[in-house]
Symmetry: C2
Subunit: 349 residues, 2 copies
């Protein structure tokens, strides 16, 4: 499959955007995929994607949730997709994503940002795959049963159970996501996986040095096995709201030069429509007490040039300005994700 | 509390035992506690305890079970205890254990052999404590969210979540059990715990060198903080069915000499009334596929001198033969557990 849809400079927008946004680069036949969003989905949030020309998204539907709670969240998605079927469809295959684009709908891939929904049971990988989950991150911030994570001081590496989870994900056709995962476990999982894996939403540490971003050796290992890095706009991994569009897009171009155009994509990590309690939930889950009221976590400020999915045209303009051509931009904004999904979703049995 | 109940040599048994067992050492006023059994409980299994003079037991009610399945197992215990209230009571305190003994009933302490019932949620420690769970082992064989385990090649140590779990167990008054736990995580948990902890069922590696037994440095750290080692009769940690009563009891005596009488107890690891499918469940849980039929796990053979709880009198005779006196035997067979429970169950809030 050779899919190269994307934004193209100079084309008129199909729908008007707000005045100060790069609205001159959007065209209806482009297929844009965001590698990760963790939005509180409703019709308005889905319409933001349409405004921004995003036609596919990995939508997080569980982080700390165990099996039962994850089932409930997926049930909620079924309800939402049925209610707004004019606007959205739950996609299981690359064909579904392409078809949704042709129908003018947004293709949602259900994703987990943790393996908590699998509990201690590798057979739940297939269960959740049958329910539509296509992407799962192995750990979220802290060491779990599967492996180590970016914010725990020690990293066990991929555990015995973790090896079974990765093998089962390979078999059923579920993409392994290594964002928020510890570096040692990242390297282990890249080696262990029979198909390429992704870091859906993180940046290189050479751009911004934080435990959530990835060092060169992890990115090299990822790429050597055919994986993709989704460059991330979340302020805490971007380096804050003052980072400019030019700086971000120069990072993308340098990555393209260093690791190859086919390994670079976008995972915005947009988190729309939540109050501050939710960022507390992401931080603390139920694994630690919430911090005191004086130290309550809040959402960070986003850069003015990218505050949500409706700003993908602005980002696109920045990528052109930084020197990428039509083909490059098409790959970075969606084509690379599609190709990876095509490889991984097939599974082996 | 100064409790020194135990078996005493030369006293007649209250109830007849089978002919080849050391039935001349049982007396009704002795209080014997087994640090761990994982039996499939029914009236017959409870009667085996009474035959053996065991009046308190840490009964495992969850290993791989998540929160919901653990609730169901505890519900089953409530039913069983109500149905056989002439024979058994669920104990929450040391007072309950002593009272049960006076009433001629067996005091069951509900215990977990894993932290799977807590999932990712430290607040479930208090929930399960209120339901009667008084002892929880941090990990079972493989690395989990809380820490490393004896059969995973890497041990993360006690994780950030694990530290919260230990702190919460300390607070509510739930005993930390380090059997099946990795050595690094054992040392971390011993350091982290505000109250003494236990290894309810394992032996020193100097007696039998296997990953399930404990090296000298872990035992020393345990004892330095007031903890207890429950010497274990499970064949796989004993060194097989051919190990003699004399060898086992000499190990106990050497431990008494090395670490002090107050730190040595018994955790038989009796597993009565199960078929081989259950040992497969213990081995594999749901974290790995069961092995093929040709390699199906089976229960090991027990030594002829200790095949179940009814053989505690035989064991007692062996301890006397090895040179322990009345007071020593009383401590090893129950008094030490009672003292530890008294310290730990109080909690701190």
């Amino acid at each position: 499959m050779d899919i190269k849809y994307g934004f193209r400079r100079g084309e008129p927008v199909a729908q008007p955007n707000t005045a100060n946004r790069g609205s001159d680069v959007w065209r209806e036949d482009f297929l844009v995929i965001d590698g990760l969003q963790i939005t509180n989905w409703d019709r308005a949030a889905l319409e933001e994607l349409r405004t921004g020309g995003v036609s596919g998204v990995n939508a997080t539907c569980a982080v700390w949730e165990g099996p039962t709670e994850a089932l409930r969240n997926i049930g909620d998605w079924y309800q939402l997709a049925r209610k707004h079927s004019d606007l959205v469809t739950l996609a299981s295959t690359v064909g579904d994503i392409v078809a949704a684009k042709a129908e003018g709908r947004i293709a949602v891939l259900l994703g987990f940002q943790n393996t908590s929904p699998f509990a201690d049971d590798y057979t739940l990988v297939e269960v959740f795959h049958r329910l539509g989950v296509r992407i799962a991150q192995l750990t979220y911030n802290i060491q779990n049963v599967v492996g180590g994570a970016c914010y725990d001081p020690e990293d066990s590496g991929l555990t015995r159970f973790g090896r079974n989870i990765v093998a089962e994900m390979n078999r059923v056709g579920m993409l392994v996501d290594l964002s928020h995962v510890g570096n040692r476990t990242c390297r282990d999982a890249i080696d262990a996986s029979a198909t390429p894996v992704a870091i859906t939403h993180a940046n290189p540490t050479w751009f911004f040095d934080t435990a959530r971003n990835k060092p060169a050796d992890v990115i090299k290992a990822l790429v050597d096995r055919g994986g993709i890095l989704g460059c991330c706009l979340y302020p805490n991994v971007l380096g804050g709201a003052r980072v400019t569009r030019e700086q971000f897009c120069e990072m993308v171009v340098r990555l393209v030069d260093e690791i190859g155009i086919e390994h670079v994509a976008i995972g915005s990590d947009c988190a729309r429509n939540w109050d501050d309690d939710y960022v507390g939930w992401l931080r603390n889950g139920r694994w630690q007490p919430p911090s005191g009221d004086g130290d309550k976590p809040t959402w960070p400020s986003w850069p003015s040039w990218f505050t949500g999915p409706e700003d993908f045209p602005t980002l696109t303009e920045g990528l052109f300005d930084a020197g990428l051509n039509d083909d490059d931009v098409a790959r970075v904004l969606g084509g690379n994700w599609l190709n990876l999904f095509e490889t991984v979703f097939e599974g082996s049995a």
